[in-house]
Symmetry: C2
Subunit: 333 residues, 2 copies
């Protein structure tokens, strides 16, 4: 077998089949995928389905806490999860640069399969394209996913007083990528939080009648997502700085680099907006999960038609969190 | 508004929203897409669903008969169609190189929306990533699609004697791309056949009980697809050269370039394998469609455990069509 990807791995012929068999079928092995039909076929019951997609162009491909494959599976699973869906099936589209190592491809796909297995999710359809050397930066992965809406979850109208809960420390993923990208040599244990959030949203399902919206704060971090939610709701948001869970090391590194962790991507956290009266109960339930021990109620919605998102510090000072309007670190996911 | 894509168009903030509103929402405008939820939500009835994906890296982006946007919509719709599904919803993931023209992006997305409209299909979820100049070749598009299986279509066991029908001239797309790529200056009307095949498979639905398999012969052309079907069936295939519909110009250009049109991609054709007794009826039905006036029965399956695919010419000569095992023109779709 070849050691690197050649253009002929993408021509649909013998070598494409070989690659599919030796890498994709080997790891993603399931009867829907290997049926030889142009689409994956599966049965569904009447109900509401969720469908989403994401492309992954992260640089570097491997980082502390994960790799592009883990990100590609978890990212799409998380978009389904925060929409109230149980993720069922994924597609995987690979665009690979000529000369890419097949051994590294194998590691990436192995990690994707591992994440799928953890969640009972299957990659049932895929595609591989190879582009000439210099026409792509190593490998890009697109995943799309379908799932079924469970427990009648639906987005609801947000009202002033509704609480904002975050499921864990923020900014870990973005900070981990930044450190790797710039080779910042700090002794740190900062790791990407990249993980599925399905277990998290599943754990609070009995509160769904009181949950207004759930989102995963990826690109642009919690600041960007909260501006988005503020815009949807037509209300302002007040955050309490000391309640925002940020690892001391993440805080320190960002300070050193002049960056704001509130704008740093998370890849395994959920923002939950819920009615005030159940916020503490939801928090308690979250904290019973290992991955949510740092969950916190970080703020609430305010009557403010200007839709200002601001943070209040412990001295009563206020800082406005605008929507990102400049360049942040690109290729974070 | 900016005239070219900047890195900040991919950071999830203000400029990403602007791009989404001004380009994607403008053209793909539908309430599922614009709901602000992380996944597209829609109702389904009990039954069998089809799910597929494809990435598009075609070069050049615009070619005689279409562009990457048309290809991205039709390609995925066709994979669903030949699986017996009615295409319903698409996702669209864009990976764009910094510096790409927003005007050209607009043209591409406009064409995608136009194709969707023709078919009553909706782009309901999407994603945009921007990579640095030199990290991708202008634009790559991934589409995934879901549909519902109709008329109980299913793949069936192929038997010796089963006929192979092609819905129109072959090799047009691959040849059109080749001409553009190499700037071959021939006076020709060769145009890509890029189009949806849904109408075609829908037109023969009453014959589904006798249809064994349907495939669209894209990368690697009919030679590659027939080798794939031969492999699935465990049988050989005999094609009759004079019955394979190829435009005289396509034939001529390929001869000149030393290429074989049987290996050239089609993007709007279907290969249908059906029981011998209904083949002529299916052909008649196909030919009643404007886009299938050149449909033809090109060959049949033979008892041959070696699974040889060969073409017999009018003088009785035979030529074996092997699976592609060298480099063909890359980035054809």
């Amino acid at each position: 077998m070849n050691k690197t990807i050649k253009l002929f791995h993408g021509d649909g012929g013998k070598y494409t089949s070989e690659l599919i068999e030796n890498i994709f079928y080997k790891h993603f092995n399931n009867s829907i995928l290997t049926s030889g039909i142009d689409s994956a076929l599966f049965n569904v019951n009447s109900g509401k389905m969720a469908f989403t997609t994401d492309s992954f162009v992260v640089k570097p491909l491997f980082f502390s806490g994960g790799n592009i494959g883990k990100l590609a599976v978890c990212g799409t699973i998380n978009d389904l999860s925060v929409s109230g869906a149980k993720p069922l099936y994924l597609s995987a589209g690979f665009i690979i640069e000529e000369g890419f190592s097949i051994e590294i491809l194998d590691l990436i796909v192995e990690e994707m399969a591992k994440q799928c297995k953890l969640l009972g999710v299957k990659v049932v359809t895929g595609d591989t394209k190879v582009v000439e050397k210099g026409s792509a930066d190593r490998i890009f992965i697109n995943t799309a996913g379908v799932g079924v809406i469970q427990n009648n979850y639906e987005m609801k109208k947000i009202e002033a007083g509704d609480k904002i809960i975050v499921s864990g420390n923020i900014g870990d993923h973005g900070t981990a990528i930044t450190l790797e990208r710039y080779g910042v040599d700090v002794k740190s244990n900062i790791k990407s939080d990249c993980a599925s959030v399905y277990e998290i949203v599943e754990a609070i399902k009995e509160y769904y009648p009181f949950v207004k919206i759930m989102k995963d704060p990826t690109r642009g971090g919690i600041a960007t997502i909260l501006n988005e939610i503020s815009s949807i709701s037509g209300l302002g948001i007040k955050l309490v700085e000391e309640n925002i869970p940020i690892l001391r090391e993440v805080q320190g590194v960002n300070k050193m680099l002049g960056l704001d962790p509130l704008y740093m991507a998370c890849e395994g956290r959920v923002i939950i907006v819920a009615k005030s009266e159940v916020a503490k109960e939801i928090l308690g339930r979250l904290r019973s999960l290992k991955q949510c021990k740092d969950a916190s109620i970080i703020g609430s919605f305010t009557e403010d038609s200007e839709r200002i998102v601001y943070v209040e510090n412990s001295f009563g000072g206020e800082r406005i969190l605008n929507t990102l309007d400049g360049e942040m670190l690109p290729r974070i996911c």
